[in-house]
Amino acid sequence: MTQVSLLKTTGLAILVSGLITVGCGKQGSTVSSEARSSENKKEIQNAGSDTMVNIAQAWAEAYGKANSTVDISVAGGGSGTGIAALINGTTDIANCSRAMKNIEKKKAKNTHGKDPQQYIMGLDALAVYVHKDNPLNEITIEQLGQIYGEDGSITKWSQLGIKPNDGHDEIIRISRQSNSGTYVYFKETVVPKGKEFKLGSLDLHGSKDVVEIIGNTPSAIGYSGMGYATDHVKMLKVSSKQGQVAYTPNIENVVNKTYPISRPLYMYTLGVPTGRVKTYIDWCLSDAGQKIIIDNGFIPAPKN
C-alpha cells in the first residue's frame, strides 16, 4: 500500500517538475529574445570563433567590471557558427578568425538590409605544433600542403628526414572540424588551391583540444592559434618555400609579416553599430582592451 502511494507521489512529482521545467524554458527564451531585440536592455551577445573565445571572455569580464550596467555573454562554437548566428539575428557581434565570405555578406544583407561591418581586433599566428620531444624544428608551407592536402605525398615522418622518439613513423594529422575559421584559413593558406584536406585526420572540436592531444601524442602534428601553446608542445618555425628562412610565430614576425601563416581576428556587426555595442568594440580596440589580447598570447591590432 505504502509502496503504491509512494509510486504515485513520485510520478506526480516527476510530472510536475517536468511541467515546471517546460514553463521555465519558455519563459527564459522569451526574455532573452526580448533582450536581444530591444535596444535599451543592457545585454550584448557575442558568439563565434573558438580561437577567440578566451580573449572574448577576458574582454567581457574586464569590461563587465568597469561597466556594471552592461552584461556581455560570450559563446564559442566556431567562426561559421558565429556568422550563422549573426545572419539569424541571434547575436550582436560575431567573432571570426577568418574574413566573412561574399556569399555570407550577401545573405546577411538580404535578411536584415544591413551590410556587415568588419573590425580587425588583433592578429594571430597560426602555429604548427608538434610534440615537445619531436626533433623537427622547421617546416615549409609546401611540406604542410603535402601532409595535409588531398593526394599529398607525405604521410611518414621519415619523409621529413626525422624519427619521432616513440618509434611511430606514421604522421598523425590533427585538424579541426569544418565550421572552424582556423580550418578554413589553414586550408586556404596551406593546401594547394582547389584541393581539400586529406581524409583521415583527427578532426577535433577546439583550439585547446588540438594542443592537448598533440601534447600527449609524440607522432602528431597539428595547427592552432599561437595563444594556445603549452609546455608539452613545440611550435615549428615555418618558411614559405624550401631554402628560405623559417620564422618562429611571435609578435615581431607577425607584425612585420615574415611569418607566413598569420591572420587577422575579426569582429562583425550588422550595420554600423551604435550605442553600447559601439562603445564595447571601441573599448576592445583601446589600450586596455588590446593589453588583454597580448595577455592571452595574441597580437594587438595594427594601428592605422
Binding site: G80, N179, L204, I213, N216
Partner: protein, 305 residues
C-alpha cells in the same frame, strides 16, 4: 454489485484516458520523428543530383567543400560497423556471463547488490564515458598497445561495451529467469553439473531472449553519439583491409552519429550539407529499426515457428 461514487467513476475514466494517450503518443512520436527526418532530407534525395549508390559506396566525405562537395559515407558506415562489432565482441561474452552469474550462481543478497550496481553503470551519462575515453583510455591504449594515438576503434568499442553491458545483463537475466523451474528440476534430477545445466538446458531454452538482449545492446551501440565522438578520434578512415586481422582496432575512425552531432550545428538550414546529414539520420534510423525489429521478432519466437 460494488457501488462506486460518481466522482470515482469519473476520475477512473480520466485516468484511463490519460494512460491511453500516453500509450498512443509513443507511436505518434516515432512516426512524427521519422517523417520529420525524412522531410528535412527529402529535398536532396529528389533533387536528381543525389546518387544513393554513390552516397553509400564512396568514402570521400567533403560536405563543406565550396568547389566540389562530395557526400560519401562508406567510411562513416565502416566506422560505425567497426566500433559496434568490436564493442559486441567485448560486451556479449561479458554481459551474458554477468547475466548467467546473477541469475544462476550467486546468493540473493549479492544478486540485489549486483543488479543495483549494474543499473548504476547504465546511469552514467555518455559524455562522461566520452571524457573517460578521451583522457584515461587514450593514455592507457597508447601505453598498453604501443599505438601512436589512443583515440581509436578499440577505445570507442570498450566504452560502448561498458555502456551496452547493463542492457544485455538486465534483459538476458530476465530471459534466464523466464526458463521454467521444471527444466532446472529435470536437469538436477538427471544429475547434471552446474556448467552442464547452463550449457545444455538454460542457454538453449533462453536463446531467443538472450539473442534479443544482444540485439538491443547492438542498437544501443549503433545509436550512441557523444562517447564515440570523443573516444574514436573523429577521423574519416576505413579501418578494414585485406591484411590480417582485417579489422584494425588501433585506427581512428568516425561514426555516422558523431558526424551528425559535430556538423549539424554549423550548416545553413536546407543547404545540401544540412540535408545530407538528415539522410544519414534516415540511414541510422533504418539500421536501428531493423535491429530492434529483429530483436522483437526473435523475442516473440516468430523465427522458431
Amino acid at each position: 454489485m460494488l457501488h462506486r461514487s460518481k466522482y470515482k467513476v469519473l476520475s477512473e475514466g480520466i485516468i484511463e484516458c490519460l494512460i491511453r494517450v500516453c500509450g498512443i503518443s509513443a507511436v505518434v512520436f516515432v512516426f512524427a520523428i521519422f517523417l520529420f527526418v525524412f522531410w528535412q532530407g527529402k529535398g536532396l534525395i529528389f533533387s536528381g543530383e543525389f546518387e544513393f549508390w554513390k552516397f553509400l559506396t564512396t568514402k570521400e566525405w567533403y560536405p563543406a567543400s565550396e568547389s566540389n562537395p562530395r557526400y560519401g559515407v562508406s567510411a562513416l558506415i565502416a566506422g560505425t560497423v567497426s566500433v559496434t562489432v568490436l564493442a559486441m565482441v567485448i560486451a556479449v561474452p561479458f554481459g551474458l556471463g554477468v547475466a548467467l552469474f546473477i541469475s544462476e550462481f550467486c546468493s540473493p543478497k549479492l544478486k540485489e547488490t549486483l543488479k543495483i550496481v549494474i543499473e548504476l553503470l547504465a546511469a552514467i551519462p555518455s559524455v562522461v564515458w566520452g571524457f573517460i575515453g578521451l583522457t584515461i583510455m587514450n593514455q592507457l591504449i597508447m601505453k598498453l598497445f604501443g599505438a601512436p594515438i589512443g583515440l581509436t576503434v578499440l577505445n570507442g568499442a570498450i566504452i560502448l561495451a561498458l555502456m551496452s553491458v547493463p542492457i544485455i545483463v538486465s534483459i538476458g537475466e530476465d530471459a534466464l529467469q523466464a526458463v521454467p523451474d521444471s527444466y532446472r528440476e529435470a536437469g538436477i534430477g538427471l544429475g547434471v553439473t552446474r556448467w552442464q545445466m547452463v550449457y545444455k538446458v538454460l542457454l538453449p531454452a533462453a536463446k531467443n531472449g538472450l539473442l534479443a538482449a544482444v540485439l538491443l545492446g547492438v542498437g544501443r551501440a549503433i545509436g550512441e553519439t557523444m562517447a564515440v565522438l570523443m573516444a574514436t578520434g573523429h577521423a574519416v578512415h576505413i579501418p578494414f583491409n585485406a591484411e590480417f586481422p582485417y579489422l584494425h582496432g588501433l585506427d581512428s575512425v568516425r561514426t555516422l552519429t558523431a558526424t551528425i552531432a559535430a556538423e549539424l550545428g554549423e550548416t545553413a538550414r536546407d543547404s545540401s550539407h544540412y540535408q545530407v546529414l538528415f539522410i544519414i539520420g534516415i540511414l541510422l534510423f533504418t539500421i536501428t529499426f531493423v535491429v530492434n525489429l529483429t530483436a522483437d521478432l526473435i523475442v516473440k519466437g516468430v523465427k522458431g515457428k
